[in-house]
């Protein structure tokens, strides 16, 4: 042992590469996002629940005994308790509740998805322009202030009155027209903040094209905020639609929606709780899972949480 060690007392070549070796792995943004997301088992669970619910809503209507379009009022069946024939019972006018609930849910989710998507696109585009192009800052800020200062309820009431009961597309457009405000402001604030960070300035000095700076440096921060906004926006749209329909300012009576459902049932569900419980559970599941899902994805896509 001693001799083996002794012979090691000699000088060796110096290697600059070894001196610099640190040993950190390659970093890929999307891979980290996925890793981070999948690590949270609860988030993956929520994903399954949410997708499951949406798919089930289609199945539910298919396997339901009655079709929405052919519902007839039948006062004999009013307040029929849930049983083998009518899985969710009947409402106050004797119509099958099962298909009403699932149909309303579909409407709400469809609306929320479209509005969410529209808000996203409009909000991101305007937000980026707002934050990045300097001379657009003033005019868009003024526009934002003007729209923002007037209570939204006024706009909504006016539109509801002008159109006398909104149809699905009109409702969509209206909600998108007000939804982009928050998204655009969030995006703009972020772009503003990161645009002039030193490392971005350095990149630009070194000749990196602006598109690359945007996509590789600024965008990852945006994603987290955008997803978070979406996570709040979709349950928010469902809430808003429900409230408006309840107040008579939303979708017309022909289009089934959660708000209309609850408005009809408001006077009765104290005595017949199932009228409230079924839609409440379904909606609660959808909104809560989406909210949690969005939050989890937003955390996962925040570059500061990456290894």
């Amino acid at each position: 042992m001693a001799s083996k060690q002794d012979e090691l007392f000699r000088f060796v070549e110096y290697s600059p590469e070894n001196a610099e070796r640190i040993g950190y792995s390659n970093y890929s943004y999307w891979r980290s996002v996925m890793q981070n997301f999948l690590k949270r088992k609860s988030a993956v669970f929520m994903l399954f629940v949410f997708v499951g619910l949406v798919i089930f809503s289609f199945i539910a209507l298919a396997i339901g005994k009655y079709d929405w379009a052919t519902l007839v009022t039948n006062t004999d069946l009013a307040f029929h308790k849930p049983d083998g024939e009518y899985w969710f019972g009947c409402d106050n006018l004797g119509r099958d509740y099962w298909c009403q609930v699932w149909y309303s849910m579909q409407t709400s989710v469809k609306l929320a998805a479209l509005v969410g998507g529209g808000e996203c696109v409009l909000g991101i585009v305007i937000g980026c322009l707002w934050g990045y192009v300097r001379w657009l800052d003033r005019p868009i800020t003024e526009l934002y202030n003007i729209i923002n200062n007037v209570p939204m309820i006024i706009y909504l009431t006016l539109i509801a009155l002008i159109f006398r009961g909104l149809s699905f597309p009109v409702m969509c457009i209206t909600l998108i027209a007000f939804g982009w405000l928050v998204m655009a402001r969030n995006v703009r604030n972020l772009v503003f903040m990161y645009r002039d960070r030193e490392y971005n300035l350095a990149s630009r000095c070194l000749g990196t094209p602006i598109s690359r700076v945007l996509v590789k440096n600024i965008f990852p921060y945006l994603i987290s905020v955008i997803v978070l906004r979406l996570a709040l926006s979709i349950p928010g749209t469902i809430s808003l639609e429900t409230t408006l329909s309840y107040l008579g300012l939303g979708l017309g009576i022909d289009t089934p929606s959660l708000g209309i459902l609850l408005r009809n049932a408001r006077n009765y569900f104290v005595d017949y709780p199932y009228l409230l419980v079924f839609p409440a559970v379904v909606v609660a599941l959808i909104t809560i899972t989406f909210y949690l899902l969005g939050n989890a994805f937003s955390d996962a896509s925040d570059p500061r949480n990456h290894v």
């Binding site: 200062n149 349950p235 429900t242 107040l247 609660a284």
Partner: protein
């Protein structure tokens, strides 16, 4: 400080004016049929309708109407309601209705602050523990699920289990106020709890806390004497605005429980083309909003010594 306040108030006044003008113009965008009740629409002839519109001054050019509006406003005259209560001064209508909304709102605000902040503190002290998670679940539920659904659940539970009246009535004011106040408070509690928790966690990461630990302060004292005090400051800024907003009442809650407050007034008056009332309400709400923000800023300067001096231009 005084000069700054005056500038702010003037700016606010301009904002209020702009908002009122926009609403004024928007109202003119409604089809004039809304001026009349359904009966009248069918019964009156075209000429009669025109006559009535003329009498109400609605056929004049918009610019003229606008100037008239400004003039009246400067004289503090908000006009008389046309449809909600015919010929009753707008101010009186507001005076009649806002006490109900404000009373319920203030009670709810008080409860929300106490419970919300307490919950937030408990959550932070028990961070990642069962209490923290319970609080999070509550917050998530209240934020994600449509308020209408939560109010309905409250109603069902209150009416069935606790046997509370499901509609508000002045005769049984105490009992019938319980559920509305609960509904009003639900989301505020979650809101304050979340903010308290967030601010406290932020403060907990600050450097000066390390110095406190190093100089031998036990954690409990640090939490109360340093963290809590500091975390309160941003919260305080919102309180004046919140108090003012109680005047407005909650549209959904008041409709849901049939409360004769300020909430539904705006929507109803728009629907009935009661322009003076609409304009009056808008001026009121816009003023409340800007005054609330202003008072909040004032509170911030009072509570945070850094802001006061920088406002004066002191360099440090």
């Amino acid at each position: 400080m005084v000069k700054y306040s005056i500038t702010r108030l003037l700016q606010s006044a301009v904002t209020v004016l702009i908002v009122a003008t926009i609403v004024f113009l928007l109202m003119r965008a409604l089809p004039t049929d809304y001026f009349f009740t359904e009966e009248e629409v069918m019964k009156l002839t075209e000429q009669q309708k025109q006559d009535r519109l003329e009498a109400a001054g609605l056929n004049d050019p918009v610019a003229q109407q606008l100037l008239r509006f400004y003039n009246e406003l400067l004289h503090g005259d908000l006009g008389k309601s046309r449809r909600i209560r015919v010929d009753k001064p707008v101010i009186e209508i507001i005076q009649e209705r806002f006490p109900v909304s404000m009373k319920l709102g203030l009670i709810s605000l008080g409860i929300s602050l106490v419970l919300g902040i307490a919950l937030g503190i408990l959550q932070v002290l028990n961070k990642e523990g069962p209490l923290d998670h319970l609080g999070m679940i509550y917050t998530i539920f209240v934020n994600a699920v449509p308020p209408l659904v939560t109010y309905s659940l409250v109603l069902m539970f209150g009416a069935k289990v606790l046997d509370l009246p499901s509609m508000f009535s002045k005769r049984n004011e105490l009992q019938s106020s319980i559920m509305p106040v609960v509904c009003l408070s639900l989301s505020s509690i979650a809101h304050y709890a979340m903010w308290t928790r967030r601010y406290m966690v932020d403060e907990l990461n600050k450097d000066y806390l390390r110095l406190c630990r190093v100089k031998g302060m036990p954690t409990k004292d640090i939490m109360i004497k340093h963290v809590l005090k500091n975390a309160f400051v941003p919260l305080i800024a919102y309180i004046p605005a919140s108090i003012l907003f109680t005047i407005g009442g909650s549209l959904l809650v008041e409709r849901f429980f049939g409360i004769p407050g300020m909430g539904p007034l705006l929507v109803d008056s728009i629907g009935r083309y009661d322009t003076p009332l609409v304009q009056g309400l808008v001026v009121l709400y816009a003023s409340m909003s800007v005054i609330g923000v202003f008072l909040g800023d004032v509170m911030m300067t009072v509570m945070d010594p850094r802001i006061k001096l920088t406002g004066k231009g002191d360099t440090r």
